[in-house]
Symmetry: C2
Subunit: 306 residues, 2 copies
Amino acid sequence: MKTLGEMGEHEAIRRLVGGLGSHPDLSVGAGDDCAVAHSPCSDFDQVFTSDPVIEHVHFLPTHAPGRIGNKAVGRVLSDMAAMGAHPQWILVNVVAPPELEMAFLEGIYAGMSALCGRFGGTIIGGDLAQGKQLELHLFGTGILPAGTALLRSGACAGDLIFVSGPLGCSIEGHHLDFVPRVEEGLFLRESSGVGAVMDISDGLTTDLRHILAQSGVGAELDVGRIPKNGTLEQALYDGEDYELLFTVRPDCAEALIEHWAERFGTPPACVGRITPQPDKLSLSFPDGRVSTLFDKAFEHFSGGRV
Amino acid sequence: MKTLGEMGEHEAIRRLVGGLGSHPDLSVGAGDDCAVAHSPCSDFDQVFTSDPVIEHVHFLPTHAPGRIGNKAVGRVLSDMAAMGAHPQWILVNVVAPPELEMAFLEGIYAGMSALCGRFGGTIIGGDLAQGKQLELHLFGTGILPAGTALLRSGACAGDLIFVSGPLGCSIEGHHLDFVPRVEEGLFLRESSGVGAVMDISDGLTTDLRHILAQSGVGAELDVGRIPKNGTLEQALYDGEDYELLFTVRPDCAEALIEHWAERFGTPPACVGRITPQPDKLSLSFPDGRVSTLFDKAFEHFSGGRV
């Protein structure tokens, strides 16, 4: 009899998801940024995601409510960005202790609405219940042309690996104030040669390992080219960057970088390439040294984050 | 500066929802059992709902995990039943302390999957995070022909009021073991003369008041005809019955009762009628006495439930 703490988040999820059913309209189940289902009688697929934002895990009681709201909606929109989907509907379950100031909760909603308004998502419902700590549970749907969702399983050996912006030190404020890469995700869906896409929530190496596992490939990261907000270790392991991590066929990379820069200003950074050996993740240093990377994944139940 | 406890759940929700945006595809926003949106490029509407199930509020740690799972999915499917929708996709956010036994969580998932399987819902994703108490946050979508959703706003003066089964004493076990009235909801959507529909989660009088408010009508309950599991007070005020509460045009009632009984065995009980005076709720007793009802709504933040 194992407890959740002994088992760890990822193994627990694997076991719970293993027992779930399937459905002919469901093209992607649990395990990507969003699940993907075909909308009946239409040319669209719909994506579904849910994210908790919990006091003392994802924010502190001293943080401004508008920033907490931004993070709550931002996490959901970032998952949709990683699929290349247009944000659609959002529901919010709030759990709160009775002594919480109503004005604080209204500040959270103002932050959520502001970010929704910017990217076309609409909050349409939810629930409010009593609990020991403040929590927000956001559920979101997005929409995109049928069969075009950007998946974690799309990387091929030889693909170049990109990140949409600098990594690390998110704890200094970025994790509350980030702007989800919704427009960049839509751009990637419409670009040629894009392989795997996901958002970086648990850290570059942890999240890259998801792409490797689901695509059946390996990767070599070119350490000198990773855009950093702090040290290399922070860029490799810190979570909550909410940048996009994606792979592009080498023959399409130049055009993609150019169009990206025209559209968004700063070009994405090429930080490595996909290699054939499954699950092997190497670091290549500027002095020519190459070392295989120690796996230091962030897991809930084995350490807090904020 | 008011706290949530001072304001109460319903007023807090009204204030939070008042600040939300609108959308041309959204036909029903917050305030019904589900939100309703038109599926782009199709003949279908989609309904959306979310429900928390929280330790010490909706269940106790001593309850069997399969029953907790049944309740969690049942609440979502009951909301869909109240719209007349076919269950579609479900996501589950779990919050749990690290010392929770994995086998307990697997038992909850087994209970959720069993009820989903019975009514065609599919669990497609979610999240697992650490917190002080065990919570499940379920998010569900359902589908139905465009423009046919059963709303709380559909009651007209003269309509007869029905409940789908006996009320009260849900705390003795029904609140964990109930079967959501999905098939009855689909039946009502396809029947003639059906006005307002909702599920009874907060108690007959509290929930009937939602129909009155949204339909701009009043009601007289015929006390002697309310099917009860305990006392009259329990039938009027206990929550978590998850029966359907609905109104039917008098000229359609006889046929509906007959077809319902053919299909489901026991006929629904006629418990009163809709009256013209907005928000007035009266009780009519077998001895001819009529009294206007004291409003004793269940509110989170002003008392626990389990």
